[in-house]
Point group: C2
Chain length 336, copies 2
C-alpha cells in the first residue's frame, strides 16, 4: 500500500499507537489551568540539581521513566529514543537520557521538536524497525531565558507579544501494541521564512509555518477543518493564533472553531502574567500528555491535528541580522 | 521479514542506495590529501558571505544542489531532508536549506550527525515513505572555534591532542533507485560517557562511543572485523584511534588492520599543522563523498562500516563541570 500522501504527508498503512504518556512540569505550570493534570509538578525549579540545565535533564529523565512505567514495559524494551530540547548541543537530552542506555536520535526543531520526535517514532514503529520507541522533549524557563534572551537577574521587561517558556518535559511511548490513541498520519514541515526579525514575538515568526503545514495537511489528506475535532498548535500564543487564523482564511479555510493552542491552554494570562502565552518544546509536549491525549483516549475527540511550532531563533544568527524562520510538524492522532 | 537485528541494529529488507554524493570544502581542506577529490573547493573561507555562519549555510546549499544535480533529479523529487550541523539551533542547516522548499528533519548528533542523517534517510526510503531522501551535514572551522573555544583573533595555542574542525559539507541522495553503493544496515549509537572532561581532546571523549557502536555492530550482525574491508570512524584523530584500537582489543577484537579515520585522512599532519587530525560533522561527510563512496562504487571495497563519531560538547555544560559524552552511529555500506 502506498503510504506517501500528497506532497508532504504519510498515511500509515500500519498506524502505530501512543500507548503511554507522561508529563513533568514546574511550579508555575502547576499553578496554571492544567496543573492538576500533570503527572509530576516540582516546586523547586532546579529539581534538586544545582543549575537549570541539569534540572531540565532531570525532567526528561523523570518523564521518560514515568512513561515507561505507565506502558508496563522495561526500558530495555524501548529500541530507540527520539529526543530533543532547545539548548545548544541538546545538553538537556544527552545528559538526561544517557543512563537509559538506549540508542538515541538527537533532534532539533526548536519548539516543534515534540512533533518531529513523534513523527520519526511513528515512522520507525510502523515500518517494523521497533516494537517500542520513545519521544521525549523538554524546555525550561531558566535555561531558555539565559540562552536566548537576558540573564534572569537582569529583570528585563517583556513586550506583550512575548511568550513564557514552559518548564516541563513530556515523554511518549509509541508502539505497535494496541492503545486507545493512534498516529494515523504525519505532515512534515518545511522551513518557512517570512523575514520576521522580532525575537520577542515568536508567535509571528511561527504562524506562517503553522499555516503552511496545516494547509498542506488538509490538501494531502483531502480534508477540511471540520474533519478534525481540534487543530492544535504548539505555542503560537494569543498573537500567533490571530495571525494563523487570518493566514488560513487567506488560503480559503476558517479554522477558528477548531483551533486550540497549547501555549494559550497552559497558563492563565490574567492571573499568571504570561503575556502572549506559553512556549518551548515542553509546552506542546506536556499539554499533549496531560490534556489532549486523555481526551482522545476517552473518545471525546475522535481525530485531531497536533502541530507543534518552532521558531528557529539563535542569538548568533539574530545578532548577525538574520530573520527568525519557523517550522511546524503535523501529527494526526485518532481515537481507537 | 524481521529487520531488527540484535540489540541496536537494523538489517534492511529493502536496502536503499546512495545514488549520489557531493562534497564542498574550504581552502585548507583543498590543500590536503583529498583536495583533488572534492567537488568544490572555495579559497574564500566566507564563501562570498559576510560571516562564517552564512558561509556554512552556503556550503550546505552548494553541496545539496550538486548532489541533486548528480542524481539527475529535480529538487521537488526529494521528499525529505535530514540535516544538521554543530551550531546552536542548527542555523547553518535551517538557513542553508530553506530555499529548497523540502520538508526538513533537523538533527543533532555533534560530529556523528552524518551517520544519524544517513541512518534516518535509509530507514525512510527502505520503508517506502520516500523515493528520494537527502542527508546533509556541515561544519566550519571559524564558526566552530567561535562557538566552542576561543575567538580566532585571540590566537590561542592548542595541545597536540586537539583536532582541527573541517570546513566542509557533504550531501547524499538516498533512494530506492539502483546505484552502486547500498546501505544494507545500521547500528544506532547510545550516549557513552566515560567522564572525560578535556574539551581539547575530543578523540578521547569519542573513542568509547565508537568502540561501543563497532562492538555492537559486530555482535548484532554476527561479524568479525575481517568481514569489513574498512571500519571507518569520523574524527577520532591520531589520539582517539589509538584509544579505540586498545578498547576494541579489550573487548576481544583487533581492528588495527581495518581501521581508518576520516580525521586522519583529510589533513597531512606534518605539513598542515593539524595536530591530532580533522573533526566536525563536515569531516566524515566530505571524506565519505570524496574518497570512501568512490572506492565502494568501483568495488575496491566490498563492504565497509562507516561510524561518524560525535562529542556532545557544549560550553554551557562544560563550564558547569559536566563531562563530554560521546555518541557514534554506524552505517554499513556495500558495493553492488
Amino acid at each position: 500500500m502506498e503510504q506517501k500522501t500528497g506532497k508532504q504527508s504519510i498515511q500509515f498503512a500500519q498506524a502505530p499507537y501512543i500507548i503511554s504518556a507522561a508529563s513533568v512540569a514546574g511550579k508555575k505550570e502547576g499553578e496554571g489551568p492544567l496543573g492538576k493534570l500533570f503527572d509530576l509538578v516540582c516546586n523547586d525549579d532546579r529539581f534538586g540539581e544545582d543549575n537549570w540545565e541539569k534540572a531540565e535533564s532531570t525532567m526528561q529523565n523523570e518523564a521518560l521513566s514515568a512513561a515507561i512505567a505507565k506502558a508496563k514495559i522495561q526500558k530495555s524494551n524501548v529500541r530507540y529514543l527520539f529526543g530533543g530540547d532547545l539548548l545548544g548541543q541538546l545538553i538537556a537530552t544527552s545528559f538526561g537520557l544517557e543512563n537509559f542506555d538506549i540508542p538515541l536520535f538527537g533532534l532539533y526543531g526548536a519548539c516543534s521538536t515534540c512533533g518531529e520526535s513523534l513523527s520519526l517514532a511513528a515512522m520507525t514503529v510502523s515500518a517494523g524497525y521497533a516494537d517500542y520507541a520513545a519521544a521525549v522533549t523538554s524546555s525550561h524557563f531558566g535555561s531558555a531565558e539565559k540562552q536566548f534572551r537576558f540573564p534572569l537577574a537582569y529583570g528585563n521587561q517583556k513586550p506583550l507579544s512575548a511568550t513564557w517558556t514552559v518548564t516541563g518535559s513530556g515523554a511518549f511511548i509509541v508502539s505497535n501494541k494496541r492503545g486507545n490513541a493512534r498516529i494515523t498520519g504525519i505532515t512534515t514541515g518545511k522551513v518557512v521564512d517570512f523575514g520576521v526579525k522580532d525575537s520577542m514575538n515568536m508567535g509571528a515568526c511561527m504562524a506562517p509555518a503553522a499555516c503552511d503545514t496545516i494547509y498542506q495537511n488538509l490538501m494531502d489528506f483531502c480534508r477540511s477543518p471540520e474533519d478534525y475535532d481540534q487543530i492544535i498548535t504548539g505555542d503560537l500564543g494569543y498573537v500567533g493564533q490571530e495571525i494563523l487564523i487570518e493566514l488560513m482564511k487567506d488560503r480559503g479555510f476558517d479554522i477558528s472553531k477548531q483551533h486550540m493552542d497549547c501555549g494559550i491552554e497552559i497558563f492563565d494570562r490574567d492571573v499568571q502574567d504570561t503575556h502572549s502565552g506559553g512556549s518551548g518544546c515542553g509546552c506542546s509536549a506536556v499539554t499533549l500528555a496531560a490534556k489532549i491525549l486523555p481526551n482522545i483516549e476517552k473518545g471525546a475527540w475522535k481525530r485531531i491535528l497536533f502541530v507543534p511550532t518552532g521558531a528557529l531563533l539563535s542569538t548568533v544568527s539574530f545578532n548577525e541580522g538574520q530573520s527568525v524562520p519557523g517550522i511546524a510538524h503535523g501529527v494526526v492522532i485518532e481515537h481507537c
